[in-house]
Structure formats: structure tokens, C-alpha cells
Amino acid sequence: MGSGVLGSRSGEDPCRPRFVCAAALAIVIMVVGCGNRPAAETGLRVVSLVPSVTEIVYAVGAGKVLVGNTNQCNFPEAARSVYKVGDFMTPDLERIVALRPGLVFLALPIHRQLLDKLNEMRVPVYVSRPADIPAVLKEIDTVASLLGRKAQGESLVVVMRRRLDSIPAFADTPRVYVEISGTPLMTAGGGTFINELLARAGGRNVFASSLQEYPVVDPEAVLKADPEVILLLHPDMSAQDVAVRIGWGGISAVKHSRIYGRLNEDLLFRPGPRIVDGVVLLAKLLHPGQ
Amino acid sequence: MKAIELSGIAFGYDERLLFEGFNLDIDAGEFLGVIGPNGAGKSTLLRLVAGLLRPSRGSIRIGERDLGVLNRREVARAVGVVLQENPFAFDYTVSDVVMMGRNPYLGRFQSPGKQDRGAVNSSLEFVDALFLRDKRINAISAGERQRVVLARALAQEPGILMLDEATSHLDIAHQQLIARILVQLNRRGKTVVFLSHDLNLAALYCSRILLLDRGKAIACDVPERVITAELIRSVYGVEPIVTRHPESGRPQVMLPVAAAGRE
């Protein structure tokens, strides 16, 4: 680890000055380099079990410390080639431990049992649980600090805040129906991320009053709510498929063809650095031309 | 006229054959008893004749007709069977159960008619179970149930009646009752094939007895010549005491007191 050629052999007269210079240079580089990287980070091995946190790690420039992530950690491109410890939903404890991590990022409640085991083994963990946009920004700060990238974290947050604030106040707040699944009809309720994104983008989730996170809804309830925009967040269901549903012809969104599918769901579901991209995307869909 | 003819029958449940080159003739109007130790093939024989099992070789004829070409309904019109176990998963009434015996005569969409109801009633009457008509099948005694199942077989109006251990779990009163019914049926011209562990019952009522052992017919003759000490000893391995029934003179078997230390 950057110790250079310190173990020199005394008595070799012609090489000695060179050795000394090389050694001095090495020390200088080390000192200069370490000024930017705290000692803790030089040996830090991080495993991220949460795709959104993986994105944060790269966004603050600390991608090198990542020694393991999940199959779902697919952004940015570099994250794909990192060693996979399993699925987001079912990561493999053995693989994680074999990497000798100094820090593990996980999420609750899905990694509850893993958390208990890692606590037993005294592996340091960080639990990601951002409930809303302010919490995401805070998490970016926290993660950045843990990785010794406090400055980068702060500047990222500033950029994100600026972008969010630059979203104008819109003239109207269209009613939006978010469809997570078609069989049966499932939507996103009030406590979800997507709900907040919608609000920030100047829309109103017609099922925001639901207590469940992802409640199943009766098609009649959708009819009654008469959304002006429909967002399809499940793969391969196209706007056309929705438009031909029997009984749906009278819904405003169907009448005015404001059904949007094939969206990049990661922007809308991952509480990470691209959250603002998600808001911007929604804002553009909900308020075209503004 | 032969009621049942088995020629060259070969049959086995697995690779080993139980029956090999087996022949048997049963005359019309006979009352044939079939006895033998466990595993001798009594139940298998009954099932072969009833068409429930197919022999791998040989032919079975029921009254001049080959069993192989008859369909289920035709066989059911010729042969009535009373099996040892008669579980009823649902609680049908006794008359419902006996009416099932009319199945071979009813077309798919046909409802039972006067003739069928008449057959049911006379069958029940014959076995002295008419008073049970409207009772549930699972609510009557074992003896009564056996009579009901017999009535069901009679409702098929078969020429041949086969019974597998029909009296084994009944008290002596019911055993006698069933035996009397069978004798009466036999007198009316029905061929009766009676499988039993009860040597004495068979000897008392049957016109002929078939003694089976491991798929072979050891003897098939009048009771006097089959229920003998030598044959019983050679097939069952016990030392019987053979006496005569005081009324009919038929052979009856008694066992000696079991001697300790004899293997």
C-alpha cells in the first residue's frame, strides 16, 4: 500500500541517492494523498445491499470502496461490474462476510434478519430508510460522511436542492392515478415515495388517502376518482392496453389520451441521487409545455 | 350348462404368477364354496371372474360368452358381487343404495321406473330389510348393512352371485340369516360362489367346495371329499378333528387345543 521502496539496502553507493529520492517522493505523495482521504477510508471495504445507496456511493465519488453490491445495483454503469452478493431481496450472508466488509449498507424491514446477524458478528452497518425527499438529502450527507466524502456530499445536495427549487409552481394540480400492477389493480398509497414525488411535481395522487403502501383498488374506485393522468409503472403495459379497458372510456385521462407508460421506474422508486430526475420527469408529463 | 368357465388362466400382481394354467368349471345352479389360506388367491379369483382384473393369459366365459367382449353393464347384469368392505363416503338411504343395483339397466339420462322400484323392493324384502328402506346407510348395524349390500347385488337380477367373506364380521345369528338367504337364492336357480374362511359354514351349505392354495386348485368336489383331515392338514398345516354335523351329516372341522411347544 504505497510504502514505496523504503526497505533499502545500505552499502550500495551508486543507487542510494535514487532510493532516498524515491522514498521521499513516495512519502510526499502519501501525505498529500492522505490529506484528501482520511485513514479510515484507505482500508475501508463497503458492501451495499441497497441500489439507491449504491448510487449515492458513486455520486459522491467513492465507488472504489465498494467491494460488493446486489444484482439490482445497476446504476451507474460501473456498479454493474462489482461483485454481486445476491438479490436485493435475498442477499447471501456468506458472500457478504467473505468480503470482510468494514461497512454494510442495508434497508429495513427487508433485511431485518440480516441486520440481526451482522450485529451479532459486530459488522458495522448503516440502515437506509428514507421516508421522504428531505430524508434522502440527509442520507446523502450521512453516507458521504461515512465514506469520507463530506464535501462531495454537501455539494451534491446543494445541486439537488437547487434543481428542486427551480421547479415552478404550476397553475394546476392534475389528479393522477398511479398503476403499479394490472392484475389485480394496484396503486401507490399515501406513504410512498412516488406519492411525494408526485406532489413535488405538481400532481395529486388520487389514492393518497390510503393507509396501505401499495393497496389493491377496485376499478370502480378509479372510475370514481376520475384521474386526469394515468401513470403506468409496470412493464410492458402500454397506454393502448389501458385505453381499451371496458368501462374506462369515460375517465378523463383516457379521453384525453394522457396515459403514460414505459417510464424509467428507477427514477421514481429509488430514494437516491436521481430522485430529482424523477420529479422533473413527472413534472414534464403532468404539465406539458410549462 | 356352465355358468362360469375359466381356461388356462395366468395372472400375477407382479412378475411372479399367482395363477398359472388355471382351469375351473362352475355349473349353473351350483352353490360353490371357495376356501383356502390367506394369499391362496380366493379374492383374486373372484375379481378375475367379475372382470375387475384381467388375466394375462387364458379366457373366462360367463354362460357361453367371453368376458373379454362384454362391457361393464352386460357383466353387471350377469354377475352380482358382494365385497368384503363396503364403505359409503356419503349418507345415502338404503333404498338409494339398492337402487344403484339397477344401474346396469338404466340409460344415462333415464330415471328409475316402476320396474326398477319393484326390483328394489323385492330385493329388500328377500333379505328381510324392507323396514330399513328410508334409513341412512351409515346409521344401521353391520349385519343390516351386509343384507342391504346383498339386496343391491340382487337388484341387478344376476344369474350368478359372488360373495367375498360376506359373513366374516357378523354374529352367528346374522351368519345363519345370510346363509339361509343364499340357500333360498340357490334353490331359485341362482349360481352362488361363496368365498369364506369359515370352513364349517361352507361345508354345511355348499354343493361343492374348491380348496385353493397358492393359486392351485387342490381339490374341487363335494364337501365330504374336500373337508378331510389329510387335505386340511396338508394345506393349512393344522391337525384338524373332522366330525359330522348331527343334522345333515356334513363334515365339520374342529381344532385341537393348541399344544404349547409345537412349532
Binding site: 392484475t183 389485480p184 377496485d218 376499478p219 | 363416503a89 356419503f90 344401474n103
Partner: protein, 313 residues
């Protein structure tokens, strides 16, 4: 047993009619946009009648065929297989149009063939073999449904609904025609089963006894099995796996009419339809957003089953 016949029928028909009326009158959509809501509710009503009727009739037939009061469409594994087929099409992304019902039907067909092949011993299909193979497949496929849903990155909520049933299927122009075909198939299938009433009665005394009474048990077994699989397969592909209706309703009807299949089968259709519709009304309106159907049918069915059990002991 004539005495309970007429009041029994009247009661069942009343049940169906009132359940149907409730189903159409009450719902989360209120009466905004009357025509659209009515379209949805009438479709739901039709689906409920077909599903409830078919499940109950198949349950009754299987109980007779298998001589087992605990048999129901799930015992044959077919319902789970259909759910698996439907969930596979869901996960492969082809939810558009008619593919999900076709997937369900294919799943049922495959299950049927597998169970049949497993149950065959020397060319004969025994009832015990079918029960064993069916139960094994049922467990296997139920687990696979959850697995498929997880691997397909679907929420567990969707998997739950697939395994617990719902009447809220979304119809498009083409799927309505498909459903029409399914309805016709259902009626034909149930009528065919009805025509085998006497054979089913006789088979409940055991296969051997039935054979001696002139019933072609092989043919009856195969026919009932095939029809049941097809019917359950197509229904489940629309509704997911609804439990308890096929199990409990036939017993209820037997309590009214006695065990004869020529009364139990039609009675089960009517009772099954009525009870399912009623359960659906409850499931939709008690909790905003609705409950999976099997929860309601289980909550109603279990106490009733306990009562049945105790009255027999």
C-alpha cells in the same frame, strides 16, 4: 327426503338473486358515470356466477369421484397450476390482452397431464393416485407462484391476490369475448358433469363396487378429471385461486338435499354462485380497497366447517 327439496331450492335461488342484486347495487364507485360502473359490475356479476358455480360443481363432483368429503379443485393441483401459468405470463410481461387467461389455461392443462401421468399405475388411474399426485402438485405450484412473483420482481401483494382470488378482473374488448367463450364452456362442462350424476353416486361406494355395478370407473374418472381441470383452469386464470367455495358449498347443499348428485350438482352451482357473490360484496365494501376473496370465504367457511365437523362427531 322430499320435504326439504322445495324450500331448499327457494332458499338457494333467493340467495343468488339477492347476492346478485347487492353486487350490482353496492360498490366503491357509487353511481358516478352510471353506464361505465354498470358495465364493470355486470361483468363482475357474470364472472362471479361462473366462478362460484364452477368451483362448487367441480368440488362436488370431485368429492363424489374421490369418495372424499375433503376433495376440492385444489386437491387436484389444478387451481395452483392455473395460478402458476397466469403468474408466469404476468411476469414474462405479456399481461396485455388475452394472454393471462391463456397462460392460466395452459398451466391447468400441464398440471392435469403431470398429475395424470404420476397417478397412472399400469395404465390404470386410481383415485388414490390422483389425490396424492394432486396434493403434491398443489403444494409445489403454490410455492412456485410465490417464487415466480419474487423473481419477476413483483410485489408480494400481487402474488397474494393470485393465490387468494379476486373478481376484479379487467376486461378489454377481446377478453370479454374470451370470457364469453369460457362461460359457454363452463355451462357445457357443468351440464356434462350433471349427466354423470348416477355414476358419481355409485362411485362414492368405492371403485371396485362401482365396477361390479356396471360403471366404467376408468372412463368416469378420466372424464371428470379432464372436465374439472379445464373448467377450473379457465376460471382461475381470470380470478386467481379462490379457496373454500369448492370445499364447503357442496356440503351445505348436501345438508339440504341429501347426497344424490343429480340434486347436489345443480344446487351447488346456484349456491356457489350466490355465496361467492355475497363474499365479494363483503370483500369489496367492508374495507376500502377491498380484501382478497379467499380471506372472506375462509372466514365464513371455517366456522361453518367446524360446525359440520362437530355435528358429525
Amino acid at each position: 327426503m322430499q320435504r326439504r327439496l322445495l324450500p331448499g331450492w327457494v332458499g338457494l335461488i333467493l340467495l343468488l338473486v339477492s347476492a346478485a342484486a347487492l353486487s350490482v347495487a353496492v360498490g366503491p364507485g357509487g353511481f358516478t358515470n352510471f353506464r361505465a360502473v354498470m358495465d364493470l359490475r355486470l361483468l363482475r356479476l357474470a364472472l362471479g356466477i361462473i366462478a362460484g358455480g364452477v368451483l362448487a360443481v367441480v368440488g362436488a363432483s370431485l368429492q363424489g369421484l374421490l369418495q372424499n368429503p375433503l376433495a376440492d379443485p385444489f386437491t387436484m393441483g389444478v387451481a395452483s397450476g392455473a395460478a402458476l401459468g397466469a403468474s408466469l405470463t404476468l411476469v414474462l410481461g405479456r399481461t396485455a390482452g388475452a394472454f393471462a387467461p391463456v397462460g392460466g389455461f395452459a398451466g391447468a392443462l400441464v398440471t392435469m397431464l403431470v398429475v395424470y401421468a404420476l397417478a397412472r399405475v399400469r395404465g390404470r388411474v386410481t383415485v388414490t393416485g390422483l389425490v396424492l399426485a394432486g396434493v403434491i402438485m398443489s403444494f409445489l405450484f403454490s410455492s412456485l407462484v410465490i417464487l415466480v412473483m419474487i423473481l419477476g420482481r413483483r410485489t408480494l401483494g400481487e402474488a397474494v391476490y393470485m393465490m387468494m382470488g379476486h373478481l376484479g378482473a379487467i376486461f378489454t374488448g377481446t377478453t370479454v369475448w374470451l370470457f364469453g367463450g369460457v362461460a359457454v364452456l363452463a355451462v357445457v362442462g357443468c351440464a356434462w358433469l350433471f349427466s354423470m350424476s348416477r355414476s358419481l353416486d355409485i362411485m362414492s361406494s368405492g371403485e371396485e363396487a362401482a365396477e361390479t355395478l356396471g360403471v366404467d370407473t376408468q372412463r368416469v374418472t378420466k372424464t371428470v378429471f379432464v372436465i374439472s381441470s379445464v373448467l377450473v383452469g379457465v376460471v382461475v386464470s381470470f380470478t386467481g385461486a379462490i379457496s373454500f367455495v369448492g370445499l364447503v358449498v357442496p356440503h351445505l347443499v348436501r345438508m339440504l338435499f341429501g347426497p344424490e348428485h343429480r340434486r347436489v350438482l345443480p344446487g351447488s352451482f346456484v349456491a356457489g354462485a350466490g355465496i361467492l357473490l355475497l363474499s365479494d360484496v363483503l370483500a369489496r365494501n367492508i374495507v376500502p380497497g377491498g380484501l382478497p376473496l379467499s380471506i372472506v370465504t375462509a372466514l365464513v367457511g371455517v366456522p361453518f366447517f367446524i360446525y359440520l365437523l362437530r355435528s358429525r362427531l
